[in-house]
């Protein structure tokens, strides 16, 4: 599966967009509100607002000048100092900015923005330890500030201190627990592999941001980790409805669909993805693979062919192409690619298996036995190789041997209807009619489940259909 669910501190950050210093307008807004509540002098307020506008426009130098005017009037104004620190950082004077932020925190220790900006400055210097200390110092003055708590939790999670990170987040006041909060909490749980809690938190976040494709993708990953492929499909299908033209998302959707045995869905999604990225090797391979699972297996050929052109040294491509050619009954060419597979990787059990089945189909029992046996030497758990051997022995009338092989196949793959069918035939020929009937029942049950999966695969979410491409 290409989809990975990040776990562990190292990947944590990848899922969390950091609060950038650049988000000055937010901080400024906070500062402005705070300032307005404390000051009422119109001309200075106007200067302050002017500085904010200049900063929003990216004119840091002029903003700095304007803020200097404000600070001349109010030298210990923490908000102005905070903004000045931002403008200074933007002009590359980081050390100077540090001093300004420090002054702002001394001036008003309860100004979270200043602590946050100071901490970020340290983080950008790769001094995460100092950044964390700064945030914790800020929390000592403003223990319930949601931003300080969130940033602290982020850094703690980054260091693998998940329990502590959760504790910080749990300290966020209920009134401040918006969608972002739940998302962050969900990611912390996720990084700690606490999938149940992660899902719970992310679902709450989703409630506030129902169109968050990112969250839905995370939920998909969580569901897969928990082994709930059906639920995963629901999440990824919903994400796809929101972003129907994302090749990556189409790919993820296709993968999850295939896990749910929804081959038709997978095929449709990949056809669409390939329209957008026609020569992407993983897309080509996946679509070919998905098509092999359907009655349209002959359509897999051009995708595998192209994949082999792009990746001639990948044994998987030759293997899959070989199998698709086998299904097309193009045995000589199939054999060629399967042999190439083995030249690249002699341990490809599937290649031995497919060569064995070609020999079986062309009535060469001796070769079939040789290749199938070889497949099992490489991979003793290869259910299909056991099945293939069973077919060869059945054809030769060696029913006891075929029984043993089919039983081995059934043990490895009990849901495969055909194995039970073959066992019913073999037991009938061995005179064990009760066993034969029992296997027949198993065959019919497995066949019914298989039919139901086919019917399920006809279900289509919106967002995938429409503009179905042709290879």
């Amino acid at each position: 599966m290409r989809i990975t669910v990040s776990a562990g501190a190292r990947v944590f950050r990848a899922y969390l967009p950091r609060v950038p210093i650049l988000r000055s307008s937010t901080l400024v807004l906070v500062a402005l509100v705070g300032w307005r509540s404390a000051r009422a002098q119109a001309p200075i307020a106007a200067q302050f607002q002017h500085a904010v506008r200049l900063m929003d426009a990216g004119d840091w130098q002029k903003a700095e000048q304007t803020l200097q005017v404000v600070l001349r009037a109010h030298p210990n104004d923490a908000d102005a100092l905070n903004l000045l620190g931002v403008a200074t950082v933007k002009q590359g004077r980081v050390d100077e900015a540090e001093a300004i932020f420090r002054k702002a925190t001394k001036s008003n220790p309860s100004l979270p923005a200043a602590w946050l900006n100071l901490a970020q400055l340290y983080e950008q210097r790769d001094d995460k330890e100092h950044g964390l200390q700064t945030l914790q110092e800020g929390l000592s003055h403003a223990p319930h500030d949601p931003r300080l708590l969130s940033e602290t939790a982020t850094l703690l999670a980054d260091r693998g201190q998940f329990a502590e990170a959760v504790r910080r987040l749990q300290a966020v006041p209920s009134a401040a627990r918006f969608s972002d909060y739940w998302e962050l909490l969900g990611r912390v749980y996720l990084s700690n592999s606490d999938f149940a809690k992660a899902e719970e938190a992310l679902l709450r976040a989703l409630h506030g941001k129902p169109e968050s494709v990112t969250m839905l993708r995370q939920l998909t990953g969580i569901a897969l980790k928990r082994g709930d492929t059906a639920r995963a499909w629901q999440y990824v299908a919903r994400a796809l409805r929101l972003a129907p033209n994302s090749p990556e998302l189409l790919y993820e959707y296709a993968q999850v669909s295939l896990q749910n045995k929804l081959s038709s869905e997978a095929v449709l999604a990949m056809r669409k993805a390939l329209l957008m990225e026609p020569d992407r090797p993983d897309f080509l391979f996946f679509l070919g693979d998905a098509l092999l699972d359907t009655s349209d297996f002959h359509e897999a050929l051009p995708y595998f062919r192209r994949y082999v052109e792009l990746r001639p040294d990948d044994p998987r491509g030759h293997l899959s192409l070989g199998w698709a050619l086998f299904l097309e009954k193009s045995f000589p060419e199939a054999r060629q690619h399967l042999e190439e597979t083995l030249r690249l990787d002699a341990k490809q059990a599937d290649a031995w298996y497919h060569l064995g089945m070609i020999a079986y189909e062309t009535n060469d029992s001796e070769k079939a036995l040789e290749f199938l046996t070889h497949a099992l030497e490489v991979d003793p758990g290869h259910a299909r190789a056991h099945w293939g051997l069973g077919m060869v022995y059945s054809r030769e009338g060696r029913y006891e041997k075929s029984r043993d092989e089919f039983e081995a196949a059934a043990h490895l793959d009990p849901d495969e209807p055909k194995v039970h069918y073959q066992l019913s035939q073999v037991y009938a020929r061995l005179g064990e009619s009760e066993r034969a009937r029992s296997e027949l029942r198993l065959y019919q049950e497995a066949q019914k489940k298989s039919d139901e999966r086919i019917k399920l695969s006809q279900r289509l979410p919106s967002g995938v259909r429409g503009g179905q491409p042709r290879p």
Binding site: D296, N363, P417, S424, Q458
Partner: protein, 577 residues
């Protein structure tokens, strides 16, 4: 120069004889050939169907029957015709046809006089004596009401469906007669296909089951509801009773029934039924001798292909092709599948030998329909023919390796369990691509060679005259039964000619929705005499006829032995040669 030519000719003849003797009679290269004599025979019938085949119901018609309706000794032909979705409300918009065999190689359309031209949307046809009066009746299966046309014995027929109680208003396909309760009166089995309503048509090209290789096509049968089958017990008084449920043959899962044949599969003296189900497991209903059947298709290995895959089964053929005394089944299937040959290894155990026999070697682009085992070259080994034609005209517009119109496959029985496909060597007529459906087999010209009549969609049928050319000998046996079964359905015959021992059975049904000549034909190779003919009548009585000369038509009557011997006809030898 002349001497040189003569020398070359002699050399060639000697070489050929040498080669032939090396190969043995069963393995000799085919010298028989088939010729299309449709036009020369005066057959003007044309099958009608909608060209686009937007609905599955427009692809499935085409049964044909060979039967002697007027008891003049020559086989007549009945062709079924179809309506279209557009014309469905007007049953007279298409005409099925009865052609009288003039016994001189030509045929005359006698449909209107006979009164059998408008059964509606006809699918298949069964010829048989329903009331035991000695005249062959016709049962025409249809989308909608079926029709039993009683042969009045004067060249006309009367529709007695309701009176007889043998209607089945569903989409009926294959039908066959067999005496399942051994009361002496043949009973009727009718297969049904899809629960199809003209008032609620599936949308062409819409949905997973309405696409083929990505191209929009007619929907089905998968994805459409299936219809169960019917068994009507013959009450012996011209009426029938529906005993389907009681007999256990109702097919509650609604499989898509097509080809049907009655046969005594295990030689226990009770008739069994084989049903080819499209896209599903085939049925082998084993007669339990108590008025009920047990479906044993899976258990016997005759339900699906070798690897457990369900196949698109359409036509069915039955014969003892290996001379073991046990019948084998052959089922014609869909494209990309192989036609399946189920060899009967031991009682009620079959093995799919399609590959081992060589039949599966030619799988691929064919969609098989009408089929039969028959000894076309009279070498003593039943051969196999399958007529083909796709269901989707749309395939002609895409490159899928298969075309809409397809040629015939003819498999020569090599006598060792294998077959060789020899159509190309037996006449251009077999190589002409057609959209074939039903096929009926019989000696139309009473010359000792089995001919073939094929109903093709979208046009005229094909009457293939078998000219022999093999110089092999043969014997044809007509059985006259007793009571309500004058056709002796279910009778089994053993023919011994030197080292050659063959078995056959008088069977109703088989092929694709068609009816073949009920006379039993046996090739004898070079043997000139038949040492023994053993008739096992349906009631268990066994009669023997000994020491007869080959190349004759024999009539054997219950309790009376050989009552008639007739040589082959010679007054129609020119047609088609």
């Amino acid at each position: 120069m002349k001497l040189l030519f003569l020398g070359v000719l002699i050399f060639a003849l000697v070489s050929y004889a040498g080669v032939a003797s090396l190969l043995g009679p069963s393995q000799a290269l085919p010298t028989s050939h088939f010729v299309d004599i449709t036009d020369a025979a005066g057959i003007r019938f044309k099958h009608i169907s909608a060209p686009d085949k937007k609905y599955i119901v427009e692809s499935m018609s085409g049964g044909v029957a060979l039967f002697d309706y007027d008891k003049d000794g020559c086989l007549d032909i009945y062709f079924t015709n179809a309506l279209t979705v557009e014309t469905a409300s007007d049953p007279k918009s298409s005409r099925s046809a009865l052609y009288h065999n003039n016994c001189d190689g030509t045929f005359t359309d006698v449909t209107d006089h006979a009164g059998v031209g408008y059964p509606g949307w006809a699918m298949g046809v069964l010829a048989g004596d329903f009331d035991g009066d000695g005249w062959e009746d016709l049962y025409v299966t249809c989308l909608g009401h079926n029709h039993l046309y009683h042969n009045n014995g004067n060249g006309t027929f009367t529709d007695i469906t309701d009176k007889a109680g043998v209607d089945d208003p569903r989409w009926s396909t294959g039908a066959a007669l067999g005496d399942f309760d051994n009361d002496g009166a043949p009973d009727l089995f009718v297969a049904n296909y899809v629960d199809f309503k003209l008032s609620d048509l599936p949308k062409f090209g819409k949905g997973k089951f309405c696409e083929y290789r990505g191209v929009p096509v007619q929907c089905g049968p998968r994805g459409l509801p299936g219809a169960g089958d019917s068994l009507f017990r013959n009450n012996g008084d011209g009426t029938f009773t529906n005993v389907t449920q009681k007999a256990g043959v109702s097919d509650p899962d609604g499989r898509y029934g097509l080809g049907v044949v009655w046969t005594d599969v295990d030689g226990d003296g009770w008739q069994d039924i084989y049903v080819a189900n499209d896209s599903g497991p085939n049925f082998l209903y084993h007669n339990k001798h108590d008025g009920t059947f047990e479906e044993i298709g899976y258990l016997t290995g005759t339900a699906v292909g070798e690897d457990g895959n369900e196949q698109g089964s359409m036509g069915v053929a039955v014969a003892d092709y290996l001379h073991t005394g046990r019948v084998a089944f052959f089922v014609s299937n869909f494209v990309d599948e192989y036609d399946t040959l189920y060899r009967h290894d031991k009682p009620l155990f079959f093995t799919d030998v399609s590959f081992a026999s060589g039949i599966a070697k030619v799988r691929g682009p064919w969609v098989g329909w009408g089929t039969a085992f028959f000894d076309y070259d009279n070498d003593g080994w039943p051969d196999l023919m399958v007529v083909n034609g796709h269901v989707y005209p749309q395939v002609d517009n895409i490159d899928v390796g298969s075309k809409y119109a397809q040629r015939i496959l003819l498999f020569h029985n090599n006598g060792d369990g294998t077959f060789t496909e020899v159509a190309a060597q037996t006449g251009e007529a077999l190589m002409v691509p057609r959209v074939s459906r039903g096929a009926a087999f019989g000696d139309l010209f009473n010359d000792g060679h089995i001919d073939v009549v094929i109903n093709n969609l979208d046009g005229k049928p094909t009457v293939l005259r078998n000219h022999g050319g093999d110089h092999n000998n043969w014997i044809t046996i007509k059985l006259l039964g007793t009571g309500k079964n004058p056709d002796a359905l279910g009778a089994r015959v053993k023919v011994v000619a030197g080292d050659l021992v063959q078995w056959d059975e008088v069977r109703s049904g088989g092929s694709y929705l068609s009816s073949s000549d009920l006379r039993l034909h046996f090739g004898l190779g070079r043997r000139t005499r038949v040492d023994l003919i053993e008739v096992h009548w349906p009631d268990g009585k066994v009669e023997a006829v000994k020491d007869v000369t080959a190349n004759n038509f024999l009539t054997i009557q219950y309790g009376q032995g050989l009552v008639k011997t007739a040589p082959p006809r010679t007054n129609n030898v020119d047609i088609g040669k």
